[in-house]
Symmetry: C2
Subunit: 428 residues, 2 copies
């Protein structure tokens, strides 16, 4: 059991027996592909299939080529076409400037200042581009990609640009696929039966990861093993379903917001990925928990007051990692003016762990806020692959428990239609 859904701090005992039948029924509808949106269940066995695919060795090879030949990898995508890669890259390689290839995110904004400065920054860098878009016409991404492509072609020539651009897109149709064929870009497939927010274990997430030196085989193996574990239909034996049922139960009892908290600054983007997964899957028909996030102990010095004594409309879900990837002893000091000598010689992880315990006590026992604790040993590629799948499976179950289609996003189109009309796009 890689991830344990610890429900000892939610302030009550959930009657799982009463959920057993419904969970088993939904589980069956996922397996038999009979539920709402079941055309988008490609993610369920994706990792296992991709591990056997011909594309994977080529993806790893391309990642290596990019890593060894460029200073900057520009990932040009938005929403599900960049959040997973960003979450993984920050979780596994950190947020500090890199010694080898570094990563830059573009195609996720219209901000003229940001885009102008990014292009100016790239002007004297040897950079490559992974453009990620199912259709190739998503406005944010397509605009930035035009600018990036122009910069490469004008500066380095057509042939060099061809080598520097890799496209992840639909396997059969679309503007980006047509362009890639015409220009001779290397392409990877964004599978048609997997939605953006479920695509981190496809080439969408894996190619940027591979280019940044992440062990994508390990990550896929994590997801594959998770798929095996979470196939279990019995909610009392399935940690992902336990989490789904618990958050559903708290929602039904009146909680309005789920605050997903980690203790690592490098996991801020993982919480952003999580917000898309749950917000976009469940936020429909006027329902669902508002997905919010925090990084502790950092944000205890900003949101901590509200959490402890503010309006009790939320519960917390804490990702607790048992072992750090690196550690340091706390040094002693001859004067001890800061009064920290009682910690001298102890590792930093000792303080991190005690902070976690102290906060849990303050929030759960002290303030009566339900705290779901997701326990995982560490944050490496295998574990992260496992964790991605844990949330994906939990989210599908949770959305079905709420009675909504986990895999569509009709509301995202509304602002686009207005924008196209205001932009004067032909046909709008």
């Amino acid at each position: 059991m890689m991830i344990r859904t610890n429900l000892e701090h939610i302030g009550e005992a959930i009657d799982f027996a009463s959920y057993k039948e419904e969970v088993a029924r939904i589980d069956r509808s996922i397996k038999e592909r009979t539920g709402k949106g079941s055309d988008f269940l490609g993610w369920v066995d994706q990792a296992d299939e991709y591990l056997k695919s011909e594309e994977l060795p080529r993806l790893i090879e391309t990642g290596k080529r990019l890593r060894e030949n460029y200073e900057v990898l520009v990932v040009c995508g938005i929403g599900g076409s960049y959040l997973g890669a960003r979450a993984a890259i920050e979780a596994l390689t950190g947020t500090l400037p890199k010694k080898g290839i570094d990563v830059l995110w573009l195609g996720e904004t219209f901000d003229p200042t940001y885009i102008s400065r990014a292009l100016a920054y790239l002007k004297d860098k040897k950079f490559c581009v992974n453009v990620i878009s199912k259709s190739g016409t998503t406005t944010e991404t397509a605009l930035s990609f035009r600018l990036l492509r122009n910069l490469l072609e004008e500066r380095d020539g057509k042939e060099a640009a061809r080598k520097a651009i890799v496209a992840t897109t639909d396997g059969k149709k679309g503007a980006l696929l047509t362009l890639s064929r015409q220009e001779g870009y290397e392409t990877f497939v964004l599978p048609g039966d997997i939605g953006g927010r479920y695509s981190v274990q496809t080439a969408v997430g894996l190619l940027p990861m591979a280019a940044m030196g992440i062990d994508v085989m390990a990550l896929l193996n994590g997801s594959k093993d998770a798929a095996k574990e979470y196939r279990e239909p019995d909610v009392t034996k399935n940690e992902a379903y336990k989490y789904a049922v618990c958050r559903h139960h708290l929602y039904e009892k009146g909680k309005k917001v789920e605050l997903f908290c980690t203790y690592l600054p490098t996991l801020v983007q993982l919480t952003e990925w999580w917000k898309q997964l749950f917000g976009e899957s469940e936020g429909k028909e006027g329902k669902s928990l508002f997905p919010a996030s925090a990084c502790f102990s950092t944000d205890l010095h900003s949101l901590g007051q509200f959490i402890q004594e503010g309006s009790q409309i939320f519960f917390e879900t804490i990702l607790h990692l048992e072992k750090p990837e690196e550690d340091l002893p706390i040094p002693g000091d001859k004067d001890d003016l800061d009064g920290l000598n009682y910690l001298a010689g102890k590792p930093l992880s000792f303080v991190q762990e005690r902070a976690f315990r102290g906060v849990l006590e303050a929030h759960a026992e002290g303030a009566g806020i339900p705290n779901i604790v997701l326990e995982m040993e560490r944050m490496d590629a295998y574990s992260l692959g496992y964790l991605f799948y844990f949330f994906e499976k939990a989210c599908a179950m949770s959305a079905y428990l709420n009675g909504v289609n986990p895999f569509d996003q009709p509301g995202v189109e509304v602002y686009k239609r207005n924008m196209f009309r205001l932009l004067g796009k032909p046909g709008f």
Copy 2:
């Protein structure tokens, strides 16, 4: 009028007349320092006073010295002792790697991996440290500062470390002040009558900004002029109070969450600063709006579905900037496979502006979500100083309207007491 509180998209007309008397009474209590927490009203006229102070020229000079002599500025602080500086530095200098001095944030986490890697990264960099702590004993900050100081002293010697460390701390007492006097560090004052979340216009925020090349005089002038404008006691003539009353009104009507949205990726940290300001000021006695944030259009591809069709427990506050700092024309393309040629020759800012209008229409008129729009011309140092003050004054009014002390944070201590006990700190 630098900032306009546009209430045309909240779906109703607020009866400001009914708030007039209460707002004027609270305004008087701020001016006469008779309300709850009035020992912490130093921020009200801080900018004007600091502009006349002897410390300011020295602060600018020190900023210049750090900028010219080091590759990395490490800001070592947490909560109010770093959020404002970070918000300003990202808003005004961006998030891309810098050509001159770059900034690194530490002292805001216990994460052993992050701290270990940050120290390894700094090992071969010429770095300086601005340690910011009122007491000098805040655990996160003091721990990282011990490690940073050790690294500097062991690598470069005592004298070089002395020059590389600047402390911002209490002017009269405390561990950090004592240490600074003993070691001969240059110090700046964290005023005793200004709380952390109101301290961005003091040395706390200004020294890191000055070191990163920001025009702190312009920022202070913005705050000073804002202080003059928002002295107005009549809510119908005071844009900050209008915002405060509107959000209070929406809270009273049942909204649970305020979603603060910007359209610039470089303003994500400004929204974090805003979350602390409102969350910590108002989140007490079981009351207050849950402060959340988003960056558009980026997050429309993740939270957009929830916003458009999910649970309607929130309203939006949009910061709308009329002019970008930089801009670019959209290039044409001979094949137009992505279908963007209808935009060729138009500036990126045209798309950004139409996106803003389209989203506003989709959310406010389409989904019926109240949208408060804060309109400001641009994001430069003067405007940002103005904006900081706008929110500070609005927050004080809003907390008083809620009947709570805007300037204390009793709840923040709870987890710390537990943590100290679990760490075995003497006396706990």
